[in-house]
Subunit: 397 residues, 4 copies
């Protein structure tokens, strides 16, 4: 029998680097298993082999955490999908747990059950209602005995605190991530203050996921860390950013970019961008380092390769990757072999091949958030009339 794995807090307390995985929603959308718009994870039931394969790729690339593919798998969100699903929320969540556990068992990874912001909150439902929704997912996580919990992708710290309060009741370690940048949450609460509230609510790990590029997220986590330390509190820190460059984003992140979600390709980070990110996150004192939307397995591998000196080992997938381009030593063409060196890739400013495109965009910034009637969620699909109003409004901005 294998020795029991070290838990998430044991690892972080020991100063180990814990590598997260990448975002399933975007990766599986490109593979044909998730629908952009609703973004719901019914693939866990419909196409388990595709979900399992992606877990395996992340594990092989160095991930220590198999996050259950339960994003937007709350019942209120599944209902808001606009088209009927043949599966209950519980079925989807259970299948996600089984897949994560199956692959986690193949290596040194833990299973994290994940919850995220709810349509109920955006629609101004009460604290009790929101907590009830979250509890339904949690029942599955407890039943399936995940190793720890992650509350992530919250735009409002108020809802994230509610989530932490619910998750804490399980007795499992709790990590909490907001999807905010240095400007703070959608109600204007600063990252430092957000972190303090999450820690006070009981989260042992706090950080940022999604919505901004790696360096921006690291900067925001740094502000969280400073806030927590200034308040005399203690916490571990995590970061799971986008794999897209977002220098032009304002407070709501990449959602506001005109390229979201079907024109983000030119913004995708290279593996070398990931080296720089991993180093910066490490130097900032963050030890739980992973990814979100846009991350492919090779991005996670780049994190693991950058931090191999600290960790003492390379991930399995590095058998198929020469350090800093060394594999090119075996390329057919001599001028490509000449690129088999670190300084080449570190200094490269990659061209877009798109001379008719700009390098930055003006984000949409409608400035509406929870409490605004535009954000009340509805079960039925947007009607033609509603869409026309949106188009017209969009053009006049």
């Amino acid at each position: 029998m294998a020795p029991a794995k070290k838990g998430i807090l044991e690892r972080l307390d020991a100063g180990e680097v814990v590598i997260g995985d990448g975002g399933f929603v975007f990766a599986l959308e490109k593979r044909g298993y998730v629908k952009a718009g609703p973004w719901t994870p019914e693939a866990t039931v419909e196409h388990p082999e595709a979900v399992r394969q992606l877990h395996r790729e992340f594990l092989r690339s160095g991930s220590n955490v198999m996050q259950t593919f339960t994003f937007y798998a709350s019942d209120d969100k599944l209902e808001n999908r606009g088209s009927k699903l043949s599966f209950t929320g519980a079925q989807i969540n259970e299948a996600a747990c089984d897949l994560a556990r199956e692959v986690a068992n193949e290596g040194d990874a833990l299973v994290a059950g994940g919850v995220c912001q709810t349509p109920s909150y955006l629609s101004c439902k009460s604290e009790a209602e929101v907590k009830a929704i979250l509890n339904k997912q949690l029942d599955v996580f407890v039943k399936k005995d995940v190793d720890f919990l992650i509350a992530e992708y919250f735009e409002h710290v108020e809802e994230a605190v509610w989530a932490v309060e619910v998750l804490k009741e399980t007795g499992k370690p709790v990590a909490a991530c907001l999807c905010i940048g240095p400007d703070g949450d959608m109600h204007g609460v600063s990252p430092g203050e957000c972190a303090v509230r999450l820690v006070k609510a009981g989260a042992q790990i706090v950080g940022i996921n999604c919505h901004f590029d790696p360096m921006t997220c690291v900067k925001a986590v740094k502000m969280m860390k400073e806030g927590v330390e200034k308040a005399g509190l203690k916490a571990h820190y995590m970061v799971q950013p986008l794999a897209f460059h977002t220098p032009d984003c304002t407070c709501q992140g990449f959602i506001d970019l005109p390229e979201f979600p079907f024109g983000l390709e030119p913004r995708i980070l290279s593996r070398w961008d990931m080296h720089a990110y991993a180093r910066e996150a490490y130097n900032t004192g963050i030890r739980f380092i992973g990814g979100c939307c846009g991350f492919e397995p090779y991005h996670i591998r780049a994190i693991a390769e950058e931090l191999a000196p600290e960790r003492g080992f390379l991930p399995e997938a590095s058998e198929k990757h020469g350090n800093w381009g060394a594999g090119l030593e075996m390329h057919t063409k001599p001028w490509v072999r000449a690129r088999a060196r670190r300084d080449y890739w570190e200094n490269l400013k990659p061209a877009s091949g798109r001379p008719l495109c700009p390098s930055m965009s003006s984000p949409d910034a409608w400035g509406v958030t929870k409490g605004h009637s535009d954000l009340i969620q509805q079960t039925e699909a947007t009607s033609k009339d509603q869409l026309k109003q949106l188009f017209d409004r969009s053009k006049s901005q």
Copy 2:
């Protein structure tokens, strides 16, 4: 028992659109199963589940051809890999055939056995030696009874003609693709003349794959078609381009770009670029339309969606994709719902988020090709001294 599938020539003769798959080498490199540099396909034996999954994703996205993952699987290339493999070329090729067949059987797809240019040719070996190498792969394809054969990724029409001559002996339909652009092959033979030679050698389908972006490849195939027609010959046409924008490439294509192969992210085509490509290819009279390096399943799906009116059906994976962004009608944010329309995505000029990067690069252009001593391939890895010479030469360009 299922009715026998229509063969490749039957389909093309009937004017049907045949959708190809995407490039396995790049897709599996990102997933951690192929090493950039050698680019060899031993994953068919080492990690069959990963190869099978990718086949399935392409099938689901609309591909009618499962190309065996046998790129660079000739014995001379496998030996040039610079590190010992535990598998014989025959083992790798056989496993590739089995995987392709298994998935092809799950849908309306044919199996195509693929061969490509050999290190032997670049190293100036004789016609007999090159043909002997190709014959070894062919033995497997015959044994496994693939549906047709593709000779692809040839930079020199001379070698491609040799390949067609070898493949023809099997009696199976033969497609032949060069990896050239409008400027012609590495010895300066024009696309039109190349096509004529390939057709005269016996290829029933001729075209272009890899090395250039879709519009450039379509342009080159158009030149092939004009050459063939002018010569009073007949053929079918195919195109399987890169999913990278390459407006700045010279004759050797993306290999010469400073971003090759680890900094190409900003050049990745969007699904909307693929719509435009599929339409242009169709209008040019090309009926076998697929992809090569950089293509992910959603790129193939975009081809299938663009040509759905002509074909009369959508691919399976479109259950997870609203036409022209329609899925966004169910997005949480109203300003994202406003993007659920064709004219929005068709007119978008996506930003790179990289203000410090240019939009085009100056390609390396060492101007060496078959016959030049720099291109003689060696079995051992490049030595430190050899690398240093390459670096110095590279800097002085």
Copy 3:
């Protein structure tokens, strides 16, 4: 006899818009009369016709202020020039006054005597020494009876305050401009605090000139205005920014850009950028609106055209300019005539025609300022050894 002109304070007190001129140093460098590096104004003596012509072009374009071309005409700077001049500082300053007065008399313009930061201050000379240097220029301005005085292009508010103190002794109206952005002066004093100190020292007009693009300068003047109002003080405001886009600048402005001073062309503002600037400055409550380095006469004309509704008249040079492109109605080609409309030019995103260039740069940021030995000025030209040290240091940044 013509009626006496209204003074600068009379105009501003009456709420009139006063339009400044553009920077002579850059404009005359392009015309061949000023040397980049030393940037000294001996052209007033050597080539008075060239200086006079530029004054006339600005007058004709709408300028109400003819600023004497006395930038860097302090004796300590002229000595630091590294090559002997045949003229004394007094000669250069006197000629400048005569030229400005001659052209001012041709229209509705005032003469402003200008002083700027001194090498003595950067070299850590005493307050008495710096004031003595400034007094020498002032003697000329008093003798030539200029209409008012401008202390401009100060990086440190400390030296600017000294300058204001000296200028105030003449009894003439005093304007004071720092060349700083929203981050404040080189010692970290905020724009608001800088403005308060200048007003307390006696400046009736305060603002920003040079170093940053128009919108950034307006933003910094806004911060000055808020600082002054919060302190319960009163002042008039002016802004004379660069005609270069500088979104990538840090605290020391365009000096730090790799393009400074010989590669700034792609950053030059269009006339339409100037319309937006003039409107923003006006809306911010700034009434003395002009330009600095990079401004050509047509840029000043654009300010005058944008504010024509407020001022009630167009500048003389508008006889050669159709409003918002209206002159194109007479173009030979019909598709150019189709551009004769405001919305066309207002929405145009002009391309650089430079696909190999980025859109932003990483500024040099050596972080040295007054007090640092690197900034001690020397009379002799930089030696080869000194230059080599600088090159090496530059490469390692």
Copy 4:
């Protein structure tokens, strides 16, 4: 008495480099003396001091040719101006000759009388009518005894040949320039064939001016030279390109760019671009090297500085310019002094400071030229109705 100057053909026959001047229309538009749209040169009468000053700046920068500012000064064009002028064509042309001669006498420069394409030709008038129009300008040039003649800015070689035939009758040396690129004239005649026709018509010097950037123009002149040599003829060659980067232009050049004429700033060439241009032109065998629209005096100076080794001297204006940035050795800031070297400026890729703008544009390409009704010129200004039609048509492109 000064020795008689060498004529243009003497100089070119002797292999000397002859440096042209820059375009007056654009330079004086920025200074407020020419109206964009009609582009006519009445400033020679209205504001002779401004025209004289620009001549002087070019002379001082190294120009050996003072081209009379008579662009579009044919009577048919002046009538088409859409607003009455108080001057006759003869007055404007005579004043232009006097100004050019006055400044030419101040240095080693010749006076060239210039004619260009006529509205009459575009409006399909007969050869006799077009020649009559050109003869009226020519009468002035003969009366004022200019040193040689330049027929320039012709889009159709047919009209240029007519012009050469008319000019030849004066007995003065004749230069002829088309404003075309490598794709040939508006009727599709190749540069080589165009050159042959011009030489056969009697032009001793042939070349290209305007419409394209320097490298493109040099390429087209090279094609002209090859055509002339292949035909067994002899000629001298000249080039006077734009000072704007135009990599995205099609056959009609920068007129078709969306930025023409009021948004071209980001495309302006730097002095270093001019060094490269001058060298390339020289190496191509062109000896009459100048500029057109966009050239400022410092651009001409850069040509003269690049070719100083061949010519043996620097222009007068180089007293105010250190070679390859050497003047920066005297800059205040040490990091700017570090830029005082050739390799710095030669390798700089200057940023645009415009992250929201693309690097290239899609040119308008209405594809209409002489013979198309859209190009019939009219005397009155475009009517509102006509403009509306143009706008609508423009939007639908």
